[in-house]
């Protein structure tokens, strides 16, 4: 028998089940709900060892419905306020909550809960990964390069805030929506970036984070109120970046810059999807940071090789981005772009606006760019000095290696 389960079936179903059950019983019972869902998967994993059910997904949905009754019985003994399930009407209503569209609705409510501004920004990501995406605290820790204890603390802090502030399990409406949606998109963007920029050896977990962020973003796009030019742009951006996830490192897991990436590895169906999304994102004239970031990523795909990159266009998008959201890293990138264009004087004007303290842990990027500048203007001594400064401050082994290679090349000049 050749039955194979869909990848991540359990993980995704876990998020769905927790969301739907929370919709029925309320956020106050979240912990009991999570335990009950976990229990379902333990049972499934043991009973399915011998024989998979014909329709695993239907089995899991049925199991979730059964959990409604279990939970009801369990909570009833604790005399908590509960929906009345005994009446026929409610029973039908509960069945309807397991329709696909309603499951998506419940998941969207969970996304908004996880991204609620009342929660500490650091706790939002962990809580979203746990409740909407079905990651364990161990998996979250490994994905975010943190200790499991830290994640557990974040999760329990998030739960506490949810209880204390009595957050409603709902999709915000009216005036509250734009602000709340912004916060939700920011969390998805951060989850994606954790995956995209993390330099963890296991590529798998990186891809999974990116995949999750995209899945959650798709949930936003399916709802007419959260489907906005901005959310389209965010999804486009994720498509463009994911398309080159495989080419970012070589087989030895060394980082490759855009110049050295094998463009044949770029995944063009994702680029096309990104383009389609981008067309929807520009139906109005309001552009967000996501629009500009996506435009920059798209510009790289237009060039068949590195030398054909339209740097003027990229510089223009960065200027727009920096006008909307001024950040030292944008200025630094603009300097690098000018250098690509051979315009060292302009690069200098950007570099002069920057100081090492603007970059905190990522100051090695600043020194690296300065080294490039001095190299291009043939001040090799200063270039080497700056590479050394970069090497002193870099913590990531892969980036260290990358810098050391650069230094070696400089020493040979």
């Amino acid at each position: 028998m050749e039955t194979k389960l869909i990848d991540h079936l359990f993980r995704h179903h876990s998020g769905k089940m927790v969301s739907v059950l929370t919709r029925i019983f309320g956020l106050a019972h979240l912990e009991i709900i999570e335990d009950a869902v976990q229990d379902t998967f333990i049972k499934a994993s043991i009973t399915w060892r011998k024989q998979l059910p014909d329709t695993p997904e239907a089995w899991l949905t049925q199991a979730a419905k059964n959990r409604v009754l279990d939970l009801f019985r369990k909570l009833k003994t604790e005399k908590k306020h509960l929906p009345n399930l005994n009446q026929g009407k409610n029973a039908i209503a509960i069945n309807e909550l397991f329709l696909d569209s309603e499951i998506e609705d419940a998941q969207l409510r969970m996304i908004f809960t996880a991204c609620h501004p009342k929660l500490d920004p650091r706790d939002r990501i962990s809580f979203a990964l746990k409740t909407v995406s079905g990651f364990s605290s161990k998996e979250i820790a490994s994905a975010l390069l943190t200790k499991e204890d830290t994640i557990k603390k974040r999760l329990s802090r998030a739960r506490k805030v949810i209880q204390q502030s009595q957050l409603k399990f709902s999709i915000p409406t009216g005036k509250a929506l734009p602000h709340r949606l912004e916060s939700a998109m920011e969390v998805l963007y951060l989850i994606f970036n954790e995956g995209f920029h993390s330099n963890k050896k296991e590529r798998l977990i990186r891809k999974e984070l990116c995949g999750e962020a995209m899945r959650l973003c798709q949930i936003l796009l399916k709802n007419e109120y959260t489907r906005t030019p901005e959310s389209y742009a965010l999804f486009a951006l994720m498509c463009f970046h994911s398309a080159r996830l495989d080419s970012k490192t070589n087989t030895e897991n060394e980082i490759l810059d855009l110049k050295h990436q094998d463009r044949k590895l770029w995944h063009f169906p994702l680029v096309e999807l990104g383009n389609t999304m981008m067309n929807k994102a520009v139906e109005t004239n309001v552009f967000s940071c996501y629009h500009y970031e996506a435009a920059i990523a798209a510009e790289h795909f237009r060039a068949s090789n590195f030398d054909h990159t339209n740097w003027d266009k990229i510089l223009y998008w960065y200027q727009c981005l920096n006008a909307l959201q001024p950040m030292p890293t944008h200025l630094l990138t603009m300097a690098v772009v000018c250098m690509q264009n051979g315009d060292h004087e302009k690069a200098k004007t950007y570099l002069d606006q920057l100081e090492p303290k603007d970059f905190v842990q990522r100051v090695y990027l600043y020194y690296g760019a300065l080294a490039d500048y001095h190299n291009a203007t043939k001040n090799f001594h200063e270039a080497i000095d700056n590479i050394d400064l970069a090497l002193n401050t870099v913590t990531n082994a892969l980036e260290k290696e990358y810098l050391e290679k650069k230094k070696l090349a400089l020493l040979l000049k």
């Binding site: 028998m1 389960l5 991540h8 079936l9 359990f10 993980r11 179903h13 876990s14 976990q38 229990d39 998967f41 333990i42 499934a44 994993s45 043991i46 009973t47 399915w48 060892r49 011998k50 998979l52 079905g134 990651f135 364990s136 605290s137 161990k138 998996e139």
Partner: protein, 115 residues
């Protein structure tokens, strides 16, 4: 050919805090192992056991109900296989999926009585 029992001893899944993803992966491995034995024609039976324990001990037949959380190790299930000798079963047991969780496979030969 003789019959052997592989008895699986270790922590209960519920007490290990496995994620849905891990559970799915583990299940896949168990499934593949079962299929492999089936194909090789060595599988004679087997079951997984629930983690609820009722113990009856001693002359007074003292009864205690336990859960997996109260005992360090628990028999989680068994497979009955046909094989030439212990070494052959040991080979089969290489694919047991839960060694990394501290699991143990105990191999026992089914006793045959002379007629």
């Amino acid at each position: 050919m003789k019959e052997f029992m592989m008895i699986f001893i270790g922590a209960d899944y519920a007490d290990l805090g496995l994620s849905p993803e891990e559970l799915q992966n583990r299940m896949g491995k168990w499934f593949a192992w079962g299929e492999k034995m089936e194909k090789a024609g060595v599988l004679r039976g087997g079951n997984a056991l629930t983690p609820n324990i009722r113990r009856v001990v001693g002359e007074n037949r003292t009864v205690t109900d336990l859960t997996s959380a109260e005992v360090k190790e628990i028999v989680g299930g068994y497979y009955l296989v046909e094989a030439k000798d212990f070494d052959a079963v040991q080979d089969i047991a290489q694919d047991f999926p839960d060694y990394d969780l501290g699991g143990t496979v105990e191999i026992r030969e089914v006793m045959v009585f002379d007629r």
